[in-house]
């Protein structure tokens, strides 16, 4: 069995640690490129959402590299993601690929298939202790990849040399692929933090524009799909915070592992959107409100074109934007999105934010003057 799985930012780093430890030979999915997207777009249904197309492209490329077992997560709806696996299986079957599709579905769809999928995923005969240890390590690695990406987007507008920052982050990500124990991971975490602290800063957090990112879990994170909006904003001198996280997404599937932060996000969204509408719809609304409360200057909303939950969120965000006086840039991403157009829109958005900040400062000064 040679297994593979789809990309989701640095998920391949974590799974690349997990599976070999469990004795499963893996074919790491080839890097996500223009070609991956082209393959996916050609094979997938025309109006399917973008992540389905990209992950399908991933699978085809991995199969060409010799993978014969595909791991994919399922879902219970109402977002289309839960049905991706079924569609992709049909398409790959019709193409004549002889592959085994292992869908890790919610136990709601039959506890037996769930256990079966777990058993195949864990190789069947490994001791539970070892599974727990391997999973814990992979989990910690995944967490750390998110931490370091968060540091990168926060520091980008502050550091003197952006290339030095990238070097530190990329170097760490490469080293993470070879981590074998928790102690080794802790060593990497320590040295990375040291290296990041050593970077000379030229600006302070208080003086830069702050933008938060909300949106769909795949498109808002996968920088190879969203034209690296975070980097673009950072280069324009904007402090970026991303509310979307794979760790949170996984924790969220079980009611007792939901973080307090997530519950808080949902509570914030309630006055506008009273219930979960699938995907990250309610999270997008709640996170945008939280950014407003944190005093952020703007929000970028990233989602796949025609994404159902995010369109609901988009309709509601217009009201949030009015109520909290918070500019929101909606960016729908699909295979037709052009980089040049996107850059122009983001630049214009940052210009607007800068101007707003200036006039606001002026009016504050003015008010202070009239009252004194």
């Amino acid at each position: 069995m040679r297994a593979t799985f789809p990309h989701l930012l640095h998920l391949d780093v974590a799974l690349g640690i997990l599976y070999p430890t469990l004795g499963i030979e893996i074919v790491p999915p080839p890097p996500l490129t223009r070609k991956t997207i082209e393959i996916g777009v050609k094979l997938a249904p025309q109006n399917a959402c973008f992540p389905l197309k990209v992950t399908l492209g991933n699978f085809v490329e991995s199969i060409e590299k010799g993978a014969d077992t595909l791991f994919m997560a399922g879902g219970v709806g109402p977002c289309r993601f839960g049905y991706y696996g079924q569609i992709q299986r049909l398409i790959l079957e019709d193409l004549g690929y002889k592959v085994q599709f292992i869908l890790l579905d919610h136990p709601r769809y039959g506890i037996r298939s769930f256990v079966q999928a777990l058993r195949t995923m864990t190789g069947g005969k490994i001791s539970p202790a070892r599974i727990v240890r391997a999973t814990a390590l992979a989990w910690k690695v995944l967490r750390f990849t998110e931490t370091i990406e968060a540091k990168r987007r926060a520091l980008r507008c502050l550091v003197e040399r952006k290339d030095a920052l990238d070097r530190v982050v990329e170097g760490t990500l490469t080293r993470l692929r070879w981590v074998e124990s928790v102690t080794a991971l802790e060593e990497i975490i320590r040295s990375t933090e040291e290296a990041l602290r050593a970077l000379p800063l030229v600006r302070e957090e208080g003086e830069v524009l702050k933008v938060g990112i909300v949106g769909e879990v795949y498109v808002a994170q996968e920088k190879r799909i969203n034209f690296d909006v975070e980097r673009l904003l950072g280069d324009l001198g904007v402090y970026v915070h991303n509310s979307v996280s794979t760790v949170e997404y996984i924790l969220h599937t079980l009611p007792f592992t939901r973080s307090r932060e997530k519950e808080e996000t949902w509570r914030l969204a309630r006055p506008y959107l009273q219930r979960f509408v699938g995907g990250e719809g309610i999270d997008s609304v709640g996170s945008a409100i939280r950014y407003a409360q944190w005093g952020f200057d703007g929000v970028v909303h990233l989602y796949p074109f025609t994404c159902m939950p995010e369109i609901v969120a988009k309709g509601i965000l217009t009201q949030v934007s009015k109520d909290y006086d918070l500019p929101i840039l909606h960016l729908a991403i699909d295979e037709h999105a052009g980089e040049a157009g996107l850059i122009t829109r983001v630049e214009a958005f940052v210009d607007v934010l800068e101007r707003r900040k200036k006039t606001r400062r002026k009016s504050e000064v003015g008010r202070a003057w009239t009252y004194s």
Partner: protein, 331 residues
């Protein structure tokens, strides 16, 4: 007075909602059939990327909101166990509230959710809405019971081959035809002859009658749905898939082809259509299949041309097969 916008699940639950409200002593007003002005309003004030039927629905909300005291927008989260409706329907009351600035007091809504709790969740939803009019729970439950009976009668009538639209507006029914096509698609597309450009009538003029998923026995649909490794989690899409599979496996000689009517940005249909298409292609000998996408840019002439070409294909295939048969029978 309570207004019901004519759109989306209206075509499925009209009798249920209407009877429920009337039994509670409320005057009901339904927005007029879709017209150009309604669509234009929906397009202008809706979210630009949302699917066409939701835009039309929003247009209906605008058309009726000033004439009534309350808007009736039940949140139909799920009307089948372990299934959902689509996210846009889940968030519909919130969308209306936020897009048009209508206050929560003017919207009568309640979460009807049978996903986990079955009939209990159904009753809870209607109790929540009924409490806006009366404190007596017994009265609400009685109203719901009457409404359910009316709904059952309505669904039974649909099975005889009448379209919801004809039943609701007491319009002239179409005369049944010998040859039929299976017209798949959400009821709010099939039954709104303004937005689907009178497709049923067009098909009829070309010499064919239609069968829709509302005309088929639900239990049989569910049985055939279990052919799939995993059915989807959208109730109406499941009914569409199940009906397609039913006619794929249980051949009806009068049925000559499949037409799947979808709206351009419909999420569930983009995947479900693919499943149906691939299942049809996998059969060794199948009927022609046509997917028609409808949105605000669809032109009537283009639609008619495609229909005519499709009818030609069905007829050619029919003649071809018959001649094949006769030649094989000949010595």
């Amino acid at each position: 007075m309570v207004g019901i916008p004519r759109g989306l699940l209206f075509y499925r639950f009209y009798w249920l909602w209407k009877t429920f409200l009337e039994e509670l002593g409320v005057e009901v007003r339904v927005s007029p059939p879709t017209n150009k002005a309604i669509i234009r309003r929906g397009l202008t004030y809706g979210v630009e990327e949302i699917c066409f039927p939701v835009k039309v629905f929003l247009g209906h909300v605008m058309a009726i909101q000033d004439e009534v005291d309350f808007l009736f927008l039940p949140r139909m989260v799920s009307f089948h166990r372990r299934e959902y409706t689509c996210p846009k329907i889940l968030g519909l009351p919130d969308l209306v509230r936020n897009l048009f600035g209508i206050s929560s007091e003017r919207i009568i809504t309640g979460e009807v959710n049978m996903r986990d709790t079955g009939i209990w969740g159904w009753r809870q939803g209607f109790l929540e809405m009924g409490r806006r009019f009366t404190r007596q729970e017994g009265k609400i439950m009685r109203a719901l019971k009457r409404a359910e009976e009316a709904h059952k009668r309505y669904r039974e009538k649909l099975k005889t081959g009448i379209l919801p639209e004809h039943l609701i507006d007491r319009r002239e029914e179409v005369v049944p035809k010998e040859k039929k096509v299976l017209l798949l698609g959400h009821t709010y597309l099939i039954s709104d002859s303004y937005i689907n450009m009178n497709i049923v009538q067009k098909i009829h003029t070309l010499g064919y009658g239609v069968v829709t998923q509302d005309m088929v026995d639900e239990q049989r649909v569910r049985k055939y749905l279990s052919l799939l490794q995993k059915p989807s989690f959208w109730t109406i899409s499941n009914e569409i898939m199940g009906t397609a599979l039913l006619y794929l496996k249980e051949r009806d000689p009068r049925l000559k082809g499949y037409i799947h009517l979808v709206s351009f940005e419909c999420g569930p249909d983009s995947l479900v259509g693919e499943v149906i298409e691939r299942w049809i292609k996998r059969e060794s000998e199948t009927l022609p299949y046509l997917r028609l996408e409808i949105d605000e840019h669809t032109g009537e002439a283009g639609l008619l041309t495609r229909l005519e070409a499709f009818v030609d294909m069905m007829e050619w295939r029919d003649a071809h097969l018959e001649s094949n048969l006769s030649s094989s029978l000949a010595p």
